[in-house]
């Protein structure tokens, strides 16, 4: 394909093949930032699929990045199970009181049908609208919470940890129900137009549970779930560490690993070489206070650490650009990728 200008999708597919595209693909994971673009409150913005589609397209035009991120917010999924979504200013919504008040209720719990949930239907609407507009030029990323991580919102984090350690049968039952829901939800998004699915699985990170426990739990759940999703998947640990489980993640069938800014990106890239594409790892919290010059330096550092040879998507480390990040910083990131991310990366000195 040489160095001719590629579409975003071609660029991403080339890097996923562990080859060098025309330039480093940039994934700006905009969620609530679209509300700012449309001048709407966060609650209003997420009330209609049309808003999100319009917001994503405006952001794409402004920043020229390489993906559309059809992700609303994490509590949306538990809203489908009957939970309340609590909106706040300047940040992503929270989920309200956990829907499972008594863990014995897991025995009779049933997953909601995707088509019966208006909150999920909005996401499918925006996926369809976005697909109509961008066709196959730009990848549309759909998102699911992993069956293994969803219970943080279903039960509350503390009770979920206790469930994992102390109630193996109920844990198993919950994983079965959640897996059915997750697979249906992922496949519905793919049918509506999403190109790939980002599988958010922070609880599987060694930051949250030890690897030995992960291999008995989250690893098995991911392997089973991803095998039933009818499209490519990326696993995101949402800022959690992942270096020590790179080989395990690759065995689950995922193609991409979201990398934490807590880890050395060059080490992560080396560990993933030939197995997984690395996505990351600009620090989204620090980004709120960066100057455009700092942004450019951080982009250069990340490209130098993980760019050579392809297999790299530049993004933030969490899977969401905070509302507080100034536009000028995001524009500087975009410019810096154009300037320093052109392959071949001759400006990087050889080791």
């Amino acid at each position: 394909m040489g160095n001719r200008h590629m579409t975003s999708l071609e660029r991403v597919l080339t890097t996923l093949g562990h080859r060098e595209p025309d330039h480093i693909p940039l994934f700006l994971f905009f969620t609530l930032y679209g509300a700012k673009e449309l001048g709407l409150s966060i609650k209003d913005y997420f009330s209609r699929g049309e808003h999100v589609a319009q917001g994503q397209l405006k952001l794409l035009e402004k920043y020229g990045h390489d993906c559309i991120y059809n992700f609303y917010h994490a509590p949306l999924e538990v809203q489908a199970w009957g939970a309340e979504v609590i909106y706040c200013e300047g940040g992503p919504p929270n989920s309200g009181v956990p829907i499972i008040q008594n863990i014995q209720d897991i025995e009779t719990l049933e997953a909601p049908a995707i088509k019966a949930c208006s909150c999920l239907e909005k996401v499918l609407t925006s996926a369809r609208l976005l697909k109509e507009t961008v066709q196959d030029r730009v990848p549309i990323i759909g998102v699911v919470m992993s069956p293994f991580s969803l219970p943080v919102m279903q039960l509350g984090f503390d009770r979920y940890i206790e469930l994992i350690y102390e109630f193996p049968q109920l844990f198993q039952r919950l994983m079965e129900i959640n897996t059915r829901f997750c697979v249906d939800w992922a496949n519905a998004q793919l049918e509506a137009g999403s190109t790939a699915i980002c599988y958010f699985d922070p609880v599987s990170s060694p930051t949250i549970i030890p690897r030995e426990l992960y291999l008995k739990t989250g690893f098995k759940v991911a392997t089973n779930t991803l095998s039933q999703i009818n499209g490519p998947t990326a696993t995101h640990l949402a800022s959690g560490r992942g270096l020590s489980i790179v080989d395990d993640l690759a065995k689950t069938g995922t193609a991409i690993m979201g990398s934490s800014s807590l880890e050395d990106l060059s080490q992560v890239k080396a560990a993933c070489k030939g197995k997984l594409t690395v996505m990351g790892n600009l620090n989204g919290i620090e980004m709120c206070g960066w100057t455009p010059e700092q942004a450019e330096n951080e982009v250069k550092k990340a490209i130098a650490a993980a760019g050579p040879g392809g297999g790299f998507l530049l993004s933030d480390n969490h899977g969401e650009i905070p509302f507080q990040v100034p536009e000028e910083v995001l524009l500087a990131i975009s410019r810096a990728v154009r300037r320093w991310g052109q392959y071949p990366l001759d400006w990087i000195s050889s080791p």
Partner: protein, 212 residues
């Protein structure tokens, strides 16, 4: 006590409640409860906290370890026991943030270290300022997961200062881990990267206030 500390850490890391209880029960034959807490339980939790800080121990292990120790300490020193440390007067909260795990871990670890404290739960900025004044709190611990909650700490600081209250704010949570400068920008007096790290911070605050 090194051997006992190692045994306890080993049991806590795999959430083996029974094995942890056996370690502590054997010690109660010859050692006072407060001494067991200070020389075995707190050092074990600090070791686990250090492992968390270094990325070698997972959050689930910190949480389960804290819960197991909290329960054991409740047996050794029931609430209201004379050796319970009720100074400084402390409270703990999250600020309109529905992520409660960090708060729960800090609560368990401080109680496992023999401290008493009030849990304000999930509360607003105005609510916490009022409660702190009413309860004459001297140290306010704020646990945070979401960035907007971290940014609210500045409002708490302002509210307390406006009322002329001398309250130390100690914060912890993910946003501060990812941006170590953030806590000072928000007006916090101290930031802890681990829950067990709160204990020496409290002790330091007590030393300073006693020295005044």
């Amino acid at each position: 006590m090194e051997h006992e500390i190692s045994l306890l850490v080993e049991s806590l890391l795999v959430a083996d409640r029974l094995a942890a209880e056996i370690v502590v029960k054997e010690l109660t034959q010859n050692i006072s409860p407060i001494r067991i807490i200070e020389t075995v339980i707190v050092p074990a939790l600090e070791r686990i906290g250090k492992g968390w800080e270094e990325g070698l121990v997972a959050l689930s292990q910190v949480y389960m370890g804290g819960r197991i120790c909290e329960k054991m300490v409740d047996g050794l020193l029931p609430p209201g026991a004379p050796d319970r440390k009720n100074q400084p007067c402390m409270a703990l909260c999250v600020l309109k943030d529905h992520h409660l795990l960090g708060k729960q871990i800090v609560y368990s670890l401080l109680r496992a270290a023999g401290f008493e404290l009030t849990d304000y739960g999930n509360i607003s900025v105005e609510g916490v300022v009022e409660r702190v004044k009413k309860d004459e709190i001297k140290v306010l611990l704020i646990s945070v997961l979401m960035l907007p909650s971290a940014l609210k700490i500045k409002e708490v600081r302002r509210g307390l200062d406006d009322m002329g209250l001398d309250v130390k704010i100690v914060v912890g949570g993910a946003p501060f881990k990812f941006d170590p400068q953030l806590s000072f920008a928000m007006g916090a007096d101290a930031m802890c990267t681990t829950a067990s790290g709160v204990v020496p911070v409290i002790e330091q605050i007590m030393e300073v206030s006693h020295g005044q």
